[in-house]
């Protein structure tokens, strides 16, 4: 089932990453070159950006947001809502979006809230932002989406430590009667345990028992505050859910796969992306990837692929884009939208 949300358009997208790079050779020192090569062959991750201890996803979002507002020439007080999609907020509370209101110089009348979603988060955020414009009659909304996932990966866990990179994005949306997007979303909490940080919330609070990294049943040294990922289960879920979800939004838009300019997939890993591409009868040219340069960047992976691989599209006809985010939750979301030329500043590095 798909939802058509009319009346809103993307005006600009900016992304920010930490300056610090981690290469395959760096990883080889920890896991051994042969081990790393076998993982890289599947994930496609060559290089990643890694935030230092003091840099949060919100810092990257604010840096991207300041650049975007400047290039759009939007007065900060013209923004009516700010959503922050992330699973690496600054604090348990308050909502990070509230602190970002102050840092971005947005008005005290702005609506600001956090959305706790990862892989599906960017598309969910677009859906919420466009729905706010449509339903609440807002004219300008900012969508911040970013994560610093490297902070919760156990250094000795090859399934996560070789995969994730840190990145963030800011997307500007505006009321536009010619705009709109088709969305499909879904949830299966039965898969929650397959991508989870077990401790640190209120189900299992931080304690002396949860903190030490100990060798678990899989022989991996990790604590309950590290990410636990069952890659096979995630892959299974992905191939079951993503193709029908994309089919729903394409049907709703009345588009055939070959009519798409590009399908922007969450950059989960290259093997998954390639499998989905073939299953959906898309060409390599239609499915740009950024995972080789930035790793799996959670909710920032779709906007990062958009800015770094597709670009602003200046002087071009509006593009037909499909997007699909899928993973932690399980949660999944897809969009089909026409996106005209929009503002895309160069990648911000901090």
């Amino acid at each position: 089932m798909a939802y058509w949300v009319p009346g809103a358009a993307v005006r600009g997208v900016a992304c920010a990453v930490p300056r610090r790079r981690l290469t395959v050779a760096d990883a080889g020192a920890t896991f051994g070159d042969e081990e790393v090569q076998s993982v890289v062959k599947m994930t496609g991750v060559g290089e990643r950006r890694v935030a230092d201890e003091t840099t949060c996803a919100s810092d990257l979002c604010v840096a991207a947001g300041e650049r975007l507002l400047e290039e759009l020439d939007w007065a900060p007080d013209s923004v009516e809502a700010l959503l922050f999609v992330s699973q690496t907020p600054d604090y348990v509370l308050p909502a990070t979006a509230c602190t970002m209101q102050e840092r971005l110089g947005l008005s005290h009348g702005v609506a600001a809230w956090d959305v706790n979603l990862g892989c599906s988060g960017y598309v969910y955020g677009l859906w919420q932002a466009m729905s706010m414009i449509r339903a609440a009659g807002m004219s300008r909304v900012l969508l911040a989406a970013g994560d610093t996932c490297t902070k919760f990966c156990a250094p000795g866990d090859r399934s996560t430590a070789l995969l994730f990179g840190d990145a963030a994005s800011m997307t500007a949306l505006e009321a536009d009667e010619r705009g709109g997007a088709h969305f499909a979303v879904g949830t299966d909490g039965g898969g929650a345990e397959n991508l989870i940080i077990p401790a640190g919330g209120f189900r299992k609070q931080c304690s002396p028992e949860t903190l030490p990294r100990q060798e678990d049943a899989e022989g991996i040294l990790r604590s309950e505050h590290d990410l636990h990922m069952q890659g096979m289960e995630i892959f299974n879920f992905t191939i079951r859910r993503v193709p029908p979800m994309l089919g729903d939004v394409l049907d709703s838009a009345g588009w055939e796969p070959e009519e798409l300019t590009a399908a922007l997939f969450h950059q989960a890993n290259l093997f998954i992306i390639d499998h989905l591409r073939k299953k959906l009868r898309l060409t390599r040219e239609q499915v740009p990837t950024s995972i080789e340069e930035f790793g799996n960047t959670s909710c920032a992976s779709i906007p990062l692929t958009w800015t770094e691989r597709l670009g602003a599209g200046e002087g071009e006809e509006p593009r037909r884009l499909a997007m699909a985010g899928f993973g932690v939750g399980y949660s999944w979301a897809a969009a089909a939208l026409e996106a005209g030329p929009c503002v895309m500043p160069d990648l911000v590095e901090i």
Partner: protein, 63 residues
């Protein structure tokens, strides 16, 4: 590496590199060729090629 004709049902999966990467590749291959999705946990527990085939056939029957 492996002579396909020589693979029998009792061929042991666990003796080779039957790791998570091999499992994901197998799930993908079954999806590509037969349009079935096998349970990842059950696939990981399969000891032999015969058990793998049985899983795929069960998934096909339930598809």
């Amino acid at each position: 590496v492996l002579d396909v004709d020589s693979v029998q049902e009792d061929f042991s999966l666990q003796e080779g590199a039957w790791d998570s990467l091999a499992l994901v590749a197998t799930i993908a291959a079954l999806d590509d060729h037969f349009g079935v999705t096998v349970d990842a946990t059950e696939l990981g527990q399969a000891q032999t090629v015969g058990e793998l085939v049985a899983l795929a056939e069960a998934a096909q029957g339930g598809a």
